[in-house]
């Protein structure tokens, strides 16, 4: 089959580029991941179960998954609105806002963490303002959530923008001419058209949040069993030379991230099949 492909392909360099792609992705992606799997597979099941059910680990897992899910959900809602405004309206400073959305992508995560602490920390303007009302914006679940909202936003906005740009204004006009109200037009025509992009944005933000470290560790305060996130648990385990335990936890994260990305692929495959972009 390969020789067949090679004969038919008029573009030179097929062998070289495909070889390079396979080698590079093996070195960078596949081999480390395989090593991780082998490492955790070497650990007996009982030990694995013990590690994962340890209160400190299970609490960190619950916190990380819960906060990531919630943050991705909130970001999907508000990120969609931001993407909608940026695409549909030209307002003063819209280009500036468009550029600023990328900041969480570009900023070193530790810098983001410090910046967030400066605002939402106990001495920050927002943090100190809300504290007397009993709202603790750092060293709490809310703190973790805020940090994850920050880093997840660009994933949603950047996935939604092309989908909204692609929306066909005539499709909405057609719906209106057929007697649909504005709300019906939105729920039956507009929303289903951007839903695949929304789910993709959600999943990307979620997957990213699971493994986030730098920006969250400051805001979380790392109280064991309370605000300690899973990435920190892993790094603590490594520092304590508990490599087996660390890789067991890492395995869970890896599988969750992998499952999320598979979900994205699946959604896109279905969406493409329907709208014929495949």
């Amino acid at each position: 089959m390969f020789s067949n492909l090679k004969r038919q392909n008029r573009l030179p360099g097929f062998g070289l580029t495909i070889g390079y792609t396979l080698l590079y992705s093996s070195l960078i992606l596949l081999i480390p991941l395989t090593a991780l799997m082998l490492k955790s597979a070497a650990t007996p099941w009982t030990e694995l179960a013990a590690t994962l059910t340890h209160p400190r680990v299970s609490s960190a897992l619950r916190l990380t998954f819960g906060a990531s899910f919630l943050a991705a959900l909130i970001n999907t809602l508000f990120g969609s609105i931001i993407a909608w405004s940026l695409v549909r309206y030209r307002f003063f400073g819209s280009r500036f806002f468009d550029a600023i959305v990328d900041l969480p992508f570009a900023m070193p995560t530790a810098v983001s963490g410090i910046a967030l602490m400066a605002i939402y920390g106990p001495n920050g303007p927002v943090g100190s303002f809300l504290l007397p009302w009993g709202i603790q914006t750092s060293i709490s679940f809310l703190g973790v959530l805020i940090a994850l909202l920050f880093i997840g936003l660009p994933f949603v906005v950047r996935t939604m923008q092309p989908a909204i740009e692609e929306l066909d204004a005539e499709m909405e006009q057609a719906a209106a001419s057929l007697g649909a109200s504005r709300w019906q037009t939105f729920t039956k025509v507009t929303f289903p058209s951007i839903l695949p992009a929304m789910i993709t944005g959600f999943t990307l933000a979620f997957a990213r949040s699971l493994g986030e470290y730098g920006s969250v560790v400051y805001m979380s305060g790392n109280l064991p069993n309370k605000t300690e996130i899973i990435s920190l648990v892993i790094s603590n385990k490594i520092e304590e030379s508990d490599i087996a335990g660390a890789s067991a936890v890492a395995m869970v994260l890896l599988l969750a991230t992998f499952a999320s990305l598979m979900l994205v692929q699946g959604i896109q495959w279905i969406a493409n099949k329907k709208t014929g972009r495949a």
């Binding site: 057609a174 001419s177 057929l178 289903p192 709208t275």
Partner: protein
């Protein structure tokens, strides 16, 4: 249903899309809005549909059966609108697309599931796409998609069917057959149809009446024969098919083109500008002979011959290097045995003369 447009204007910023347009569309007729892009034909259609709102001038009205609908939103007007690029709902099947207009009705007016199903089936049969109900729009060809768009518009039993260059995105062959099909459908359903097109052949072929538009105004309204054979303006004759334009002179209400043309020298140019006129002659309204038959004949040389078609298309070139297009019946062409380079004489059998600000 009759539609009457009274004193409608529309401008987008400084651009005037429509300027004081009046038009009456009769019940049951298929009328075409024909014009080049930017002539305002699509704007007029969208104003009828309610997708664009006309400038609010006193006296401007849009009447559907004598009911003023100017301030009525598009959804309430009960019009079927078909877009050039189909605008089908991509995430819905063909069936759901067609059923859309019925399903979004308020609960008390919504047909039952069974009724919707029957209606969609019937429409699928009408557009000859039975068995395609489960497909998605992307799995259809362009012509099929446009038929689905038409069925979707027809599902709500529109009072008037509005088509915005419906076949513009399709290739020539499909366009031709769909055009015939549309005409049959129109007659079968007994609807009132407004078709926007920039394709004069399409407009002349399917319509009961043609509205020729140019620069935000209606140039002429008439049956296809009327606008083709009795155009009332230079624009109309120029836009509807090929035409040769000659400079000539008008004397005593009579145009002279041949001799007058040739003697027109540098010294006489501009001297009698008030008499100058444009003479329009269609390619099939020219007679070609090897001999000079009358004073009106002009000498010319055969430059190119194209025999692909029912008529021989001959391009002549005069001593002044002006090109004249002539369509000759095949028998005539074979009789003359023309070859490129031959010297011939050409004279019009029918002319239309337009003097600036004055037409005969």
């Amino acid at each position: 249903m009759s539609v009457e447009i009274k004193n409608i204007s529309k401008s987008f910023g400084s651009f005037t899309a429509l300027k004081d347009v009046n038009l009456r569309i009769e019940t049951g007729e298929l009328i075409s809005l024909l014009g080049p892009s930017g002539s305002g034909k699509t704007t007029l259609l969208r104003i009828i549909a309610g997708m664009d709102i006309p400038d609010s001038n006193p006296g401007s009205q849009i009447l559907f059966f004598d009911e003023d609908v100017v301030s009525m939103p598009v959804g309430k007007r009960h019009v079927g609108f078909v877009f050039q690029h189909y605008a089908l709902f991509k995430h819905m099947t063909v069936f759901d697309n067609i059923a859309f207009g019925l399903r979004v009705r308020p609960r008390d007016k919504r047909p039952s599931k069974k009724e919707i199903q029957d209606r969609v089936r019937e429409l699928l049969r009408l557009i000859q796409l039975e068995g395609f109900g489960d497909r998605f729009p992307t799995q259809l060809s362009g012509g099929q998609r446009q038929r689905v768009a038409l069925a979707r518009a027809l599902a709500i039993e529109p009072r008037v069917l509005l088509l915005d260059e419906p076949f513009g995105a399709l290739d020539a062959k499909v366009r031709q057959s769909l055009r015939q099909w549309l005409r049959r459908l129109h007659d079968e359903l007994n609807t009132t149809t407004v078709l926007v097109t920039h394709d004069q052949e399409e407009a002349l072929e399917v319509s009961d009446r043609v509205v020729v538009m140019n620069q935000a105004k209606i140039e002429q309204v008439g049956s296809p024969e009327q606008v083709f054979h009795n155009p009332t303006s230079e624009f109309v004759i120029d836009f509807l098919g090929n035409v040769n334009v000659f400079r000539g002179r008008v004397q005593d209400g009579k145009a002279t083109w041949g001799a007058a043309r040739e003697e027109r020298g540098e010294e006489s140019r501009g001297a009698d500008a008030s008499d100058s006129a444009k003479i329009y002659v269609r390619p099939h309204e020219l007679a070609v002979d090897r001999n000079k038959l009358s004073d009106e004949s002009i000498a010319a040389r055969v430059q190119r011959i194209n025999l692909a078609g029912a008529q021989a298309k001959v391009i002549l070139s005069t001593a002044q290097y002006e090109e004249i297009r002539v369509d000759l019946p095949m028998e005539r062409f074979q009789h003359l045995r023309l070859v490129p380079g031959d010297a011939v004489f050409v004279q019009p059998t029918n002319t239309r003369i337009f003097v600036p600000d004055y037409s005969i």
